[in-house]
């Protein structure tokens, strides 16, 4: 997902991707007006309203709140309950399971601001978590409050908002440990000034991490202990996954102005079926077990298979998504390891796809490519 700091002065419809609090500002305002429940200090909404915002629902006056997360509502409840206590939240999961998406919407609903973001990379330094210096000011007048350039974390602490840390495990271990004091003491010392920033109520951290690249920078157990972990799984039912893939693919297709028609539900269902069966290692009816390939096969990849199929169909085909448009994208997504995965895929083609009624076109299309 594109992380983008758009300057506020730009027209909203010109922005490639608007912040959650802007895109859904109408929903947030209505919820705020109707929310009668008790709100934790500095929370824009009560936990119940945050839940409604994320999972969707209908308010008393009939206003519809669109669901932001389609899936297990219990996970979202755990996430919100965690943020309501003083423990930090770690969203964990394979790539493409809407971790950052959930994190953004949680921050938007709770603090009304999802921009206090630290992107974790191998080069993330301590300054970007704590504070930097305005060197001109520092040289001219020596260390002072005015010379400090606060990090998003520091801002979140002093304003009592939610700070987001993306890809926590990519941050070098020594820099990660900066978070320990912040999380346990709820303060950030500034030794140069002999002072400190104390976190206001309402401050908390949502971190996301990817559990596929294990051992990048494994969290120290001291830090791990300060997070409650919620693993966002791949969708549990095929209907859920089809609806996610279909709605996202249609939305993205619109944004990229692809010439093809909307994807047919049938084709989306086929892609999702192939993904699910290979991911779970058995056919949907549970009758045949299968080997699983090395890739993750997340919904995000299914979305991109459908999208690339759409663009193939639109630019080179007859504008309607069919088996041939999907085949290459499908194989590309599944065969990550040329030896092992191709055996897996060939077995799958021979034992499942070939036998399945109405799938012969997909079988042929795949056999042409593989």
């Amino acid at each position: 997902m594109v992380k983008h700091s758009a300057s506020k002065s730009l027209e909203t419809d010109q922005i490639l991707r608007a912040h959650a609090e802007l895109e859904f500002s109408a929903e947030l305002t209505v919820l705020e007006a109707y929310d009668q429940r008790q709100r934790p200090p500095h929370w824009r909404l009560s936990p119940w309203a945050v839940k409604t915002y994320l999972l969707g629902g209908t308010l008393e006056d009939g206003t519809k709140i669109s669901p932001k997360y389609i899936g297990n509502h219990r996970l979202i409840e755990i996430a919100i309950a965690t943020l309501a206590t003083d423990r930090a939240l770690l969203l964990y999961g394979v790539p493409g399971t809407a971790k950052s998406w959930v994190s953004e919407h949680l921050a938007a609903a709770i603090s009304g601001d999802s921009t206090l973001l630290i992107q974790g990379t191998a080069g993330t330094s301590e300054e970007s978590i704590r504070y930097g210096w305005n060197y001109a000011e520092l040289l001219a007048k020596g260390p002072s409050d005015r010379a400090i350039v606060p990090s998003p974390m520091m801002k979140a602490m002093s304003e009592g908002r939610i700070a987001r840390v993306e890809e926590l495990t990519r941050i070098p271990a020594d820099v990660q440990d900066t978070l320990i004091t912040i999380l346990s003491e709820k303060m950030m010392p500034i030794p140069e000034l002999g002072s400190e920033v104390q976190a206001m109520r309402g401050f908390n951290i949502i971190a996301t991490a990817n559990n596929r690249d294990k051992g990048v920078n494994e969290l120290s157990s001291a830090l791990k202990r300060r997070f409650n972990t919620v693993i966002l799984p791949v969708p549990s039912t095929i209907e859920e996954e089809v609806s996610i893939v279909e709605s996202r693919a249609a939305k993205l297709g619109r944004a990229l102005e692809l010439p093809a028609e909307r994807p047919t539900l049938e084709e989306v269902r086929r892609v999702v079926t192939v993904f699910r069966e290979l991911r779970e290692g058995k056919t949907l009816d549970g009758k045949i077990k299968l080997k699983t390939p090395s890739g993750t096969l997340s919904p995000a990849e299914a979305i991109s298979v459908v999208n690339s199929g759409l663009s193939l169909a639109g630019h080179f085909g007859d504008g309607v998504l069919n088996a041939h448009d999907i085949a290459s994208g499908l194989l590309g997504a599944i065969i990550k390891d040329p030896v092992q995965d191709s055996i897996v895929m060939r077995e799958y083609l021979e034992t499942v796809v070939k036998e399945r009624e109405g799938w012969m076109d997909l079988y042929r299309a795949c056999r042409e490519v593989i």
Binding site: I78, R225, I288, K289
Partner: protein, 790 residues
């Protein structure tokens, strides 16, 4: 006289607690509990100190052991509490339900009727078929039954079906239905909350339950007799009629305060009985059968809903905890969990427990519950202790949530049906268990001996190794030689196996199916063989299914390959025997293509020994597949062998034997095989590889060399062209190859050699060119001849 009704939730600790309090308050002089009246005499032993729940009442028909009913009780079952309360305070205790004797009698009648229907239907089908045959419109019988079932399903009203589905779901646990309506996970949460919310007066809670049930059942069509009742509804009516009858009798017996304890569902039908005539009609002239009731030990695992028990609870372990320490003891539960997780090697600190507790409480309040339930606690454990990993929760699932507790019963109680079944079998087959070693020889052609052998095989599958199969001379003999030795501890193990089934047959099937879950692929193939010798076709299909699943994910091609041949034989011979096992085909159809695809990788970088093993396996599989005569499968198989035989990187022996297989299957023409051989024996190939190829190709039979001159010449030329060093190196290998031929073949080869065209042509040539030293050449001839004659 007062009648008090206590509608309980089966195995609900909340209602057990309420019931205990309410009973103590009421102080009744008669307690009626839902349960089979035949079991009344067995209830005395509940107070025996050796009786530790979970235990179950087992009612069974001594004549046909497959008819049995279980009534399990845990220490938190309200019925159990009621029993104990009555027995401890010396209150008259009676059971009320449809007597099991009638239940079994009805079942037996039903079975007979089913058989008749089956027979008559077969007749109809065959009659129709005859008709159609006459008209020249013969159709497959399969489609006949299909049509029949289609017409059946057309008669069903979907609306009714839907209602029935809900009815049955509600019937299973009506309080959970209310719980779910009120937004709780199960009935326990709902009950707890009602009690928590200050309904301290348990009697009024039970009255509220009765009112709710009345409303629920009225909306589902009431409880009076209707003509259009389904068979299960009719059965339910009979049960309730019997309960009413027993209550009526209690009233006549002049008791003052009667407490009626039954599933909440039945309460309305007991409070407001329908006209008496209906009851009389329903209970009139019911068939009867003999019933024996015993106690057997039960486990929490089999009390859990997972085990398929209808009134099962999701987590007996949690209910046990609730019963022992109460709902507010979340911290205690978390400590237990922490302890169990530490045993599994996870680092869990006290801080973890505190944080989990806080998160569970926050979650509970977000979901509007006064106290965290198991769901909240589990989710908190996951998020705080296990870093979101649900799988680790499974570690404690069987230990804590379901709990591994096994019940015990006093040893003085009568025998289990399994024991009795075995005794009967032993008596019938005149096979006395004796602790001394006995030798027995069974002739499998005699029915009695065959049954004896099957019994011992079955006990072996039950892991009661009564007999050891001794040496029997020769293959294909009809004799089995056994060493029998009955060990006293078998009696104990038999009691343990009692929970798997009532007869040796059913227990073996259930137990061995369970054991099969943890077997490897090759062990499974063995298991199937055992199952066949023990004549247990259900077990065969279960194991085959498992094999099917295991095979699909296995990447060990050698193991997969090894399964083909026994399976194909099984398919072939089951055909012959006429008892077709459908699954085998399916399994072979799925395994063979997999092996065809993966064979190449399995054949890479093998040493000499494993190459020999591999080619032996491939040959076995090929022969079995050929015997099956399934063209599509065979084509695919040979196609893969063909492509395999062209990979030069494989071990020589393997390549040679593949080539031979293909030649034997007429897939390689004579010229092609000669071409292959000349390539394999060409100079550029290392002599060792060539020798190995030759060994693989000839593998035990020289016939091909006798009849195919071209091949013979090639071999001859190759040996002739070897350098001295190579020849000395390879001599043992070549000798080994030739020594496996039969003497007759060798003789023919020898004589072929003596009138050998090549040597004579060579000698003619040499006369012309005068290049060969004849004396030296002649000195090698006796040796060559000896070598070939051997």
């Amino acid at each position: 006289m007062t009648l008090s009704f206590f509608g309980i939730r089966h195995h609900g600790p909340g209602s057990a607690r309420s019931l205990e309090r309410a009973l103590a308050r009421l102080n009744p002089d008669l307690i009626l509990v839902e349960g089979p009246p035949e079991a009344e005499s067995a209830l005395k032993s509940i107070l025996d100190p050796d009786m530790l729940p979970p235990v179950a009442l087992l009612a069974h028909d001594p004549k046909s052991a497959h008819r049995a009913s279980f009534y399990p009780f845990a220490q938190f079952s309200p019925e159990w509490r009621a029993f104990r309360y009555a027995l401890e305070s010396d209150i008259e205790l009676r059971l009320m339900d449809l007597p099991v004797a009638h239940k079994f009698g009805l079942l037996a009648a039903q079975e007979r009727a089913d058989n008749e229907v089956e027979v008559s239907r077969k007749e109809i089908v065959s009659a129709e078929k005859r008709e159609e045959d006459k008209a020249g419109l013969a159709d497959e019988p399969q489609s006949e039954t299909q049509r029949a079932s289609e017409s059946l399903s057309l008669n069903l009203d979907p609306q009714r079906e839907f209602q029935r589905f809900w009815r049955e779901a509600i019937l299973r646990d009506p309080l959970s239905y209310f719980g779910q309506l009120a937004g709780y996970g199960d009935g326990e949460g709902w009950w707890e909350k009602q009690v928590e919310l200050g309904q301290r007066d348990d009697q009024s809670l039970f009255m509220a339950v009765a009112e709710m049930m009345t409303a629920l059942r009225e909306s589902l069509g009431g409880w009076a007799y209707r003509e259009d009742m389904s068979e299960s509804e009719r059965h339910e009516f009979r049960r309730e009629a019997s309960m009413r009858k027993i209550i009526k009798k209690a009233k006549r017996d002049h008791f003052e305060r009667i407490a009626v304890v039954c599933g909440a569902w039945h309460v309305p039908a007991l409070i407001n009985p329908p006209p008496l005539a209906q009851d009389r009609r329903a209970l009139k002239d019911l068939p009867k059968s003999k019933v024996v009731v015993t106690w057997i030990p039960w486990t929490y695992g089999r009390l859990s809903a997972e085990s398929g028990y209808g009134a099962g609870v999701i987590s007996p372990g949690w209910y046990d905890h609730l019963w022992e320490s109460g709902a507010t003891q979340g911290a205690l539960w978390l400590s237990k969990v922490a302890r169990a997780l530490r045993d599994e090697g996870l680092d869990i600190s006290s801080a973890h427990i505190i944080e989990s507790h806080r998160l569970a409480e926050a979650l509970a309040s977000l979901r509007d519950f006064p106290v965290p339930r198991l769901e909240e606690l589990n989710e908190a454990i996951c998020a705080v202790m296990l870093f979101g990993d649900h799988r680790a929760l499974k570690l404690i699932k069987s230990k804590l949530m379901i709990s591994e507790r096994v019940g015990e019963i006093p040893s003085s109680l009568p025998a289990t049906p399994l024991q009795r079944d075995l005794q009967q079998l032993q008596k019938r087959l005149r096979l006395k268990p004796s602790p001394e070693r006995q030798e027995k020889t069974f002739d499998l052609r005699k029915p009695l001996d065959l049954e004896r052998s099957q019994l011992i095989h079955r006990l072996k599958l039950l892991e009661l190794p009564w007999g050891e199969l001794g040496y029997s001379s020769g293959d294909g003999t009809f004799k089995e030689h056994w060493l029998l030795e009955w060990r006293p501890e078998f009696a104990l193990e038999l009691i343990d196996r009692a929970r798997w089934g009532q007869t040796v047959e059913s227990a073996t099937i259930a137990y061995a199916s369970h054991q099969a879950q943890s077997l490897t692929l090759s062990e499974l193939t063995e298991h199937i063989k055992f199952a066949i010798t023990a004549d247990l076709s259900p077990l065969v299909s279960v194991t085959l299914n498992l094999l099917h699943h295991r095979a699909s994910v296995s990447s060990d091609m050698t193991q997969l390959l090894n399964t083909i041949s026994p399976l194909a034989d099984l398919a072939h011979y089951s055909d012959v025997r006429g008892s077709r096992i459908e699954v085998v085909d399916e399994v072979i159809n799925s395994i063979t293509p997999r092996v065809s695809i993966g064979l190449f990788h399995a054949c890479l970088s093998l040493n000499e020994t494993s190459a020999a093993q591999m080619s032996e396996q491939i040959e076995k599989a090929t022969i079995s597949l050929q015997r099956l005569e399934r063209k599509e499968l065979l084509d695919q198989w040979f196609e893969s062998l063909l492509s395999l035989s062209q990979r030069d990187s494989l071990q020589g022996y393997l390549l040679g034997s593949l080539c031979r297989l293909l030649v034997n299957a007429d897939l390689l023409s004579d010229t092609e095989s000669a071409h292959r051989m000349s390539l394999a024996l060409s100079r550029s190939v290392s002599p060792t590889q060539s020798a190995a190829w030759l060994e693989g190709f000839l593998n035990g039979s020289g016939l091909i060399l006798i009849y195919d001159d071209e091949l013979w010449t090639l071999v001859d030329q190759w040996v002739y062209g070897l350098s001295e060093d190579h020849f000395i190196d390879l001599l043992p290998l070549i000798r080994r190859t030739f020594s496996s031929f039969t003497p007759a073949e060798l003789r023919q080869l020898g004589s072929k050699l003596s009138r050998n065209s090549f040597l004579s042509s060579l000698s003619q040539e040499s006369e012309d060119v005068e290049l060969i030293d004849h004396e030296r050449a002649a000195s090698a001839l006796p040796f060559l001849e000896r070598m070939l004659r051997q």
